[in-house]
Structure formats: C-alpha cells, structure tokens
C-alpha cells in the first residue's frame, strides 16, 4: 500500500500518462488491500465509496473472533469526545502478521483508515492503523 501510494505521488509530479497509470495502480491496490479485510462478511454494511479516517486514544482492545475490536475516544475540534469502535481481521490472521493481544494498548494514540458503517454510527472497518511514532500496520490477509 505504501509503495502504491508512493507511485501515485510520483505520477502527480510527472506526466499525465503516468498519472493515469498511478491512479489505476492505486485503485487496484486499494481494492486488493480492502477486499480481504472485508472478506468475512458482506460489504453491504459499509460505505466503501469513501475512505474514513478516525484519530483517537485507545480505551480497549478486544482480541476476539471473527473481528478484533478497538474501542477508542476521538476528540473533535470543539473538544467533544466521541466513542468509536473499529473492527479489523480475526486474531489468527493478525497473529500471522505479527500482531498480539498487546499490539494495541489502552492509552495508545492511533489513526485508523478504513470504511465507516452505513447509517452514520461511529463504527469503522479499518485497513490501516498508524501509531503515534508513525509506524503503520496493515491487517489484510496475506495468503
């Protein structure tokens, strides 16, 4: 994903042909990354037409099947705290990516990128997590 994003950024600074190629590769890359994360259940629950980003402080990490769940408090510009729930892949898949039950801990400042559930509830299925020190993890299936 990082590599693909990089290609898109390079394309924007060069020729039109490369821009379209970059967009194509980026789109395909996004599909490849996002589909497996949503593979367990229907995509119909999520607004996959747009990407949502949620930034907040972790209050709980549930290491459960079929989706590990992060509970977090997100604070908006007015200082109001909104409680979010973020789901990702199952513990068996995360384990193979090097995750453990301690990868996400209460108090961690994180940013999540993914798709919000339809209907406006504060619930997101994320395909990327960025930690305060800048390191990113991608929980997708890698068979």
């Amino acid at each position: 994903m990082v590599l693909l994003t990089g290609r898109v950024e390079i394309a924007e600074g060069t020729q039109m042909k490369n821009k379209f190629l970059g967009m194509f590769i980026g789109t395909v890359g996004l599909l490849i990354v996002c589909v497996p994360v949503l593979a367990h259940h229907g995509r119909s629950n999520y607004d996959v037409s747009s990407t949502a980003t949620v930034k907040g402080v972790v209050t709980e990490f549930e290491w459960i099947n079929p989706h590990a769940l992060i509970h977090l408090d997100a604070t908006d510009e007015t200082g109001k705290v909104e409680k979010w729930i973020a789901e990702t892949n199952s513990p068996n898949i995360l384990n193979r990516q090097g995750w453990t039950k301690n990868t996400v801990k209460p108090g961690d400042q994180i940013t999540l990128v993914g798709h919000r559930v339809k209907g406006g509830a504060s619930y997101i299925n994320f395909s990327k997590i960025i930690f305060a020190d800048g390191h990113e993890l991608n929980p997708a299936v890698k068979n």
């Binding site: 497996p36 259940h41 229907g42 079929p66 769940l69 068996n92 406006g120 509830a121 504060s122």
Partner: protein, 260 residues
C-alpha cells in the same frame, strides 16, 4: 542307555522346535515388511492457504447447471433478490456468517484461512483453522457406507492415482453452502477432488461436483493453494463477538444504530 535315548529325542525335538520358530518368525517378518513399507506416495504434508483467484468459489467463470429449486436458492443466497435481503443489509442467507453454523465440506476449501495436511498410516487428515474442523480421508481401502448419515464434514475416502490423491466425499448435510459464494447443494452431493502437488509450493485441486438432486449435470472447478512451511495453524471460532456482546455483534448493533 534309556537316558541316552531320552536325550536324543529331546535334542531332535529342540532342533525341530527352534527351526519351526525361526521359520515362523521369518514368515511373520516378511509379512510385516509388506504392511509397514507402503509404496512411496507424494508428500502433501504441511500448511496450505488458498490463493485461487475469486477464491470464494470453485469456479468463478461458470455456475452449476441448477435445477429450478436450487436456482431460486442460489439467487437468494447471492442477494440478487432484494426481497430476500434483511432490512439491515446483513448477509442473512449465509448459514455460517449469519447464523454460526459450521462451514462444513467442501466449503472449507474455499475459506481464506489455511489448513494443514497430515498423512498417517490409514488416512490423510486435513486440519482446518476455521472452526477447528477435521476431515478424515480414509486411505486404507475400507468400503464407504452405502447410505451414510449426513454430517457437516461428510464421509471421505481416497486412493492414489499416480501422483494424484483422488478423494471422494459423500454424506454431506444439505444445510451448508457448497462454497463461500453461496452455491446450494443437496444431500446427494458427491464430491471428487483430485489433489496434486504441482511443485514444491503449489497444491492444485481439480473438483467435480455431482449432485443429481440440485444440478442437471456435474459442475467442475479448480483451486490453488500455496505452501507455507513457516506457518502453524492458529484458532478461529465463529460468532465469539455476538456471544460476548449479548447475542448481537457490535457491528450488527452499529448497523441498526444501537451503538454510540
């Protein structure tokens, strides 16, 4: 004099006895050797993960030739029919995802989670990460039951055809989906899987699904799996989320607007 004759008789009997024992042991050893040294068979042992394009089904290019009832069920399963959709949009037709039923065979072979093959003396075991399910493929030549009681995993038996393991599975419950895509089947489903390790890293399975109650002709397909020598099976249990959250997952609650 009498003792000499007695000694001679005992000596002859002893030699005869020793020879008989020796011959019997030799015969037993040669017999045991035949049983304990089977012909070399390909090694399928290890952890494998599905990398088939459109892995949700066995054949993404062609659906089975369904009988009318099965065609109707297939349309409902794949949510073609808006009337079959649940109001909250969940995949309510999927017995595994929506209702926590075991995936069963052969659907498990289309799941994203890996499985491990273990070859033992009288059978080949397939351990699945999903549901912790096990398929026992009997290879000891036993006769399959004529009218097996239906189960989620079915009754499997196999034999080697050169470098290919030919596995037949019968006795499957009709309540499962045939694959993750939602193709329906009946309890008459007869699965033939031709499993071959095409190289060190790839297992290829050619499928034939014969179901006279649901299909008008057999359906075929192919799956590809990648070898992962550094993987071990983890644990995956369905529906833990809803069991922990009052019978409904937090996702379901969010869709209905029941979470903050």
């Amino acid at each position: 004099m009498r003792n000499r004759w007695m000694n001679l008789i005992f000596a002859v009997l002893a030699v005869f006895g020793a020879l008989t024992t020796l011959l019997a042991q030799t015969a037993a050893q040669s017999g045991a050797k035949k049983i304990q040294t089977p012909a070399a068979v390909p090694n399928l042992n290890g952890v494998w993960a599905n990398i088939t394009e459109s892995a949700a089904t066995f054949n993404p290019k062609e659906d089975p030739a369904f009988q009318a009832w099965a065609e109707t069920k297939w349309k409902a399963n794949k949510n073609d029919d808006p009337a079959q959709r649940n109001t909250n949009g969940l995949v309510q037709m999927d017995p595994t995802v929506a209702s926590c039923f075991p995936s069963g065979m052969p659907r498990l072979m289309t799941e994203v989670f890996p499985f491990e093959i273990i070859q033992v003396r009288d059978r080949i075991l397939i351990l699945f990460e999903r549901d912790y399910a096990v398929s026992h493929i009997w290879t000891d030549g036993r006769k399959p039951p004529e009218d097996p009681d239906p189960t989620y995993m079915g009754y499997s038996f196999g034999k080697w055809d050169g470098d290919t393991l030919v596995v037949e599975t019968i006795g499957l419950k009709d309540s499962t989906w045939l694959d993750r895509a939602g193709h329906p089947h009946s309890d008459a489903l007869h699965v033939v899987a031709r499993m071959r390790r095409v190289n060190q890293d790839r297992l290829q399975i050619d499928w034939k699904f014969d179901d006279p109650k649901a299909f008008t002709k057999p359906w075929t397909g192919r799956s590809i799996y990648r070898y992962h020598p550094d993987w071990t099976l983890e644990e995956f249990i369905s529906c833990e989320d809803r069991l922990l959250h009052g019978g409904e997952s937090l996702e379901e609650k969010a869709v209905k607007g029941h979470v903050q």
